[in-house]
Symmetry: C2
Subunit: 507 residues, 2 copies
Amino acid sequence: MWKMFGVALLLALAGAAGARAEGLGGDVRAWRLAHEGQIVGNLAAFTRIPSVAADPAGLNAMADRLGDELRRRGFQTRELSAGDSDPKVVYGAFDTPGAVRTVVFYAHYDGQPVTPSQWRSDPFEPVMRMGAGPDASDVDWRAAKPPLNPEWRLFGRAASDDKSSITAFLAAFDALAAVGRKPTVNIKVFWEGEEERGSPHLAQTLAANRDLLAADLWLIGDAPVHQSRKRMIYFGARGSLSLDMTVYGPARALHDGHYGNWAPNPAAMAAQLITDLRDPEGRVLIPGFLDDVRPLTPAERAAIANLPPVEDSLKRQFGIGASEGAEGLTASTMRPALNIRGLRSGEVGVEAANAIPTDATISIDFRLVPDQTPEGVRRELEAYLRDKGWTLVSETPDAATRAAHPRLIQLAWGDGYPAYRDDMSSPAGRAVVASASRAAGEPVAVLPMMGASVPIFLFDQAFHKPVIGLPIVNHDNNQHAANENARLQNLWDGVETYAAMMANLSW
Amino acid sequence: MWKMFGVALLLALAGAAGARAEGLGGDVRAWRLAHEGQIVGNLAAFTRIPSVAADPAGLNAMADRLGDELRRRGFQTRELSAGDSDPKVVYGAFDTPGAVRTVVFYAHYDGQPVTPSQWRSDPFEPVMRMGAGPDASDVDWRAAKPPLNPEWRLFGRAASDDKSSITAFLAAFDALAAVGRKPTVNIKVFWEGEEERGSPHLAQTLAANRDLLAADLWLIGDAPVHQSRKRMIYFGARGSLSLDMTVYGPARALHDGHYGNWAPNPAAMAAQLITDLRDPEGRVLIPGFLDDVRPLTPAERAAIANLPPVEDSLKRQFGIGASEGAEGLTASTMRPALNIRGLRSGEVGVEAANAIPTDATISIDFRLVPDQTPEGVRRELEAYLRDKGWTLVSETPDAATRAAHPRLIQLAWGDGYPAYRDDMSSPAGRAVVASASRAAGEPVAVLPMMGASVPIFLFDQAFHKPVIGLPIVNHDNNQHAANENARLQNLWDGVETYAAMMANLSW
């Protein structure tokens, strides 16, 4: 992709904008170096507020705090919601006289649920450590002589996902004010408090606030950067769709000596079904499943080929001897997937009984790509199963139903939403990559679409404006797990990137 | 088979032995009708003794009680063991002057472990109920007017497996004494207390007591009769071999959006492996696995074809729409099997995370037939896995080992033992079937080999004498599960069959 973007980018880097960026970058970096303690202090203070779904008061306290932070910086703020839903979206606007473009900065202030027993320390009492390993020592960062070691990590729920993005945004705004740089765009903030439970009111809130949220670009401050630790911009995310399938054997567990090979074995049926659904490289065998897949453009393929190599190091780190597919990590996440998340049938180990289990459950997580739809995938899978002789049911069948239908399968569909992949070559897209690259002093990594899912299609659906991912946190941050952490260098990079998006972005 | 056995049997039924049996059968039945309360009282008293592995005192109390029962009837008794192992085998001998044949009656007095919370009533406080259903009413059988309803069932651990056989044996002996019928054979009793935990000292005990246990025939009073409720004789049992196989994905669960289709999915690998091991009809695909299988004789095939039809009723009862194989219930249990007992990988349902699981475990239960050996099966499977590119390990591999070997599999082999199938046409075999049939007044069902496993090869290995199965309890007795029960008609049938084996058996 860089071959294609190259001309415009090199011109930009070499020209007036590049020179201005050099100045901006240096100024912001100098300010950050002088204010590291203050920035980390903000992140720690945010992390201390337990803004998780289980704690509505914590969510409200976080929303109040963020409103205060914005107002103190001169933003006009409002709390948005669909009806009287809680927690509220924290909205803020900062107008730049003369600016022709408006950018909305999205992030979420809620964190994943916590299981405190799995954490090394209280998820809401942030602790700085010298690294990510289980033996990494605690550091008294408040007493440390600056600059802080950029490999240190602050541990706490939501410290990276997304309170780092929010912290970097606020620090970038402060830096610009301190060095006397005016933003080049009108700034809007949309900080959501329900993302980790699936953004149930997001579509309604967007629809209800069309005029207020009018903008030329949405920047999504969620997700981690590339595994190479290079700064990254992403242009989309896969959709998702979950499904549990249960197939049935005898209505009660039967002695497998007396009845094995006569009574159907649901575990064996589940295994056969899995191999009917996907091949050993994970290619989905459901007829029609690939029909709606929008091909990658040459620019997108080039961007993928241009990503720094990380596979060897990840293989060592994750204990992987050979990848499932042969096309490489990023390419394999560009196609739609049928991931097996779990299998359950009978018992294993010391609890295993010599019995034919009554059923077997396969838990599946589809990853969709443009232009697949959850409805289409559901229709295609159900048609395929019927073709294969399965009778579909939506509840656990009784013995009479089982006796009447040799191949019964219960489908329990979860929520789903489509993918979104923006045009990397749009003026806004090129401007974002160029601005981030100028701030980084080198071309940033460009990912046409994240393998993971975030429902950014909703922003596109509501506004038909570019939606671009602006991640800053480390990929190894344990988000969604215990011991979530934010690496300081990523936070520093993020401050520079956010400053560039506010004061060095134009198209 | 009856066509082949026909001549000898019809002669026997029509001849002097038949007439004598008619008299014996009538006498025993009359005695039973007059003593039903006493017989059930014995079974209830035995069931009340908690002779399970978790209760060594209960096992010893049961052994003591059975020794007393035998001595009171004139048996010479001893307790046998391998070294100082507990619980002891209860051995008894009753010599019949002039008898030329000696028969050992085997049964076990220990019961399966119990999970009391799963039972309708205390497993060691036997309760009579009007049937087997979950709503069957309790009956005060002690106050009931005789004869007792033969469909009633006594619920309690080991009530059927094998305390019914022991009770029937003792009642048959009492009946013969009461009606003045002398046994036709020397009688030995071998009642074991460790069967339900795998008879760990059986081979040693047999070897250590060769002379004492010398006999012409072993009759195994274990297992249920045919599902048609017809009385049954069986000539063998499949062997067994258990195995848990674990295949590996990444060393820690990885986000399946970011890493799916690149990181190997162990659940999908396990599914592929299962389909590599068995076809949808349960035929085992391991090369060499079938090489040692001894074919069924024409007589054995005929015996299977002659079994009463039960499949339609079992399908309704178990909620089975179609059998796995097409060859029928009994035929399908004559071949070796690879049953999947359990599958575990990741999580399903509400606990499912969008993650690639770290591993997947398949729990397998092989059923072996003559002349397969556990060692041979193990060798064949391991060779097959290596051919398929698997690296075999015996412990959970670390990340470095995983990274070095793309396809790792951990094999955790359980205990195993071979099958045994006796010659149905031996003089002893023909005599047992003829005697049981005379007692029943009709040909009994003859099963060449049980699908389930009992280690009766040990008796053959130790003595090279015929080993024949003499089951009496109902097939739907919930043995090895909660609410084990013994149906009274099966107990009555058992008394008649045992009397015939003692006093109407010669060859």
